[in-house]
Symmetry: C2
């Protein structure tokens, strides 16, 4: 699979192997800042791998609770693009809602009366009024075990750079719907969600989201925001991701490797 | 090695292995938000693994350019701690400098006249007036190859949870000076730098910083801020980390595994 333009950069490096030194050409995962502006105001700058930037912006606005549906976006464009130059700015115009930058910080700056804590962070997400993920969705363990290989065989940039995270969406049959790669795991997830927004597929109530690496709180809350019923990763989740998944009823799977996985929450969707 | 209190949480999970289902107890890497306040104003909330929180706060303030030396810190404390409860707030009082929260964003919101881009991000770091890392520091390739195993043998929490990043500091002989673990790679680096601040060891001009996973821009700029001459990781660096290392003269090593590594910048410190 051919990676998107600008997502890989070539460079000359020096390899040392058991005393032997040689010059080689290496492919690097590209990393550049992307600024997202909403109604003219800068909202965030994220270090991302260029490519699928409109998806990234749409997914970010959605998973962070700035928009609740695609129809709120009046217009969205990669700005200031010249033919010879990559652009690192996406401008979004929202239709009606007066936009408050403060909203953005509510997840992380969530504090309860007893101070800032994981419980307050979970409460802040609960207050967004997200629907609980589909309880009828079911996935067969054997299908789960097949997902990592499907990601590996499609990870275009990772093969060349060894430096990217992947997020992928599958249906209950294990068919790959979309895969996105990025230097930031959260960006890869936002790109996947942004793709789903554009396709009119939200909420993702019949899908499995699989991410490379670890499953932390931030990733779990993005999955939850998109209505994903089953989230899986190849490595361990964090304590707070597990608490969030349990409180909001999402199936959370870790250590999905070979013929084995661990279910941290919502066993009923895959083990009954 | 015994991990710090609160850095691991136990929970009941369900394991599926080749059709067999069993309940097991699992150790999770703890993740909780930490708020850092400077002179009473909230500066950041980071999702971190509890433990070494004062180091994390001091390291963060230093690597993000809010303080330039330890003596600027008048007082620093874990706040609101009750005997029965973990605290998620560190309060820092700086001595003289009027503190501007805007400073914090300068790295990521860095924009040049031609727009936001990696080049502007590097320029913003250059403007901080960091000293170039020590050019006389030299490390033997065989010593580099021994570092990953030294980290593995000391990674207390990772062994149990599979879910933590590590950052470790070594001298030129390959002796481990300090190792910190965290759910966030950047936090692990900040904890290491915070340790060095407390020990009066800055700048780290005679040290190697090794991080688990990938070496992105954010990690490279933190290493640079601390004066580290050699940074190594087990996986790939990003394009922007390489550009930063080359422009500011830091040795950047990736894919440090077994008897092999790749040098992306500053070959003279290890290959001559």
């Amino acid at each position: 699979m051919r990676p998107p333009a600008h997502s890989v950069e070539l460079t000359q490096v020096t390899e040392w192997e058991n005393g032997a030194v040689r010059a080689v050409q290496d492919s690097l995962a590209a990393e550049e800042p992307l600024e997202i502006r909403v109604n003219g105001a800068p909202v965030t700058v994220t270090m991302r791998t260029p490519g699928h930037d409109l998806e990234l912006a749409a997914g970010f606005l959605f998973t962070e609770g700035i928009i609740e549906e695609n129809s709120e976006i009046y217009n969205m464009r990669v700005a200031g693009q010249e033919a010879s130059k990559k652009s690192n700015l996406v401008e979004v115009d929202l239709k009606s809602r007066p936009f408050a930058v403060e909203n953005l910080q509510r997840n992380f700056f969530a504090a309860s009366s007893c101070g800032i804590c994981g419980k307050a962070s979970i409460e802040a997400i609960r207050r967004r009024g997200l629907l609980p993920p589909d309880r009828e969705f079911h996935v067969d363990p054997r299908i789960l075990c097949g997902l990592p290989e499907k990601i590996r065989s499609r990870q275009a940039v990772f093969d060349r750079t060894g430096g990217l995270h992947a997020a992928a969406l599958f249906n209950a049959m294990g068919d790959l719907l979309v895969l996105r790669e990025d230097i930031g795991r959260h960006n890869a997830v936002d790109k996947v969600v942004g793709w789903a927004i554009g396709e009119g597929r939200l909420p993702l109530s019949r899908s499995i989201l699989m991410v490379s690496g670890r499953g932390g709180f931030e990733i779990a809350q993005k999955a939850m925001a998109a209505g994903v019923p089953v989230m899986a990763s190849v490595s361990a989740p964090s304590s707070l991701a597990v608490k969030l998944a349990r409180e909001l009823g999402m199936t959370l799977i870790g250590f999905l490797r070979g013929e084995r996985f661990v279910v941290y929450s919502g066993e009923f969707r895959c083990l009954s």
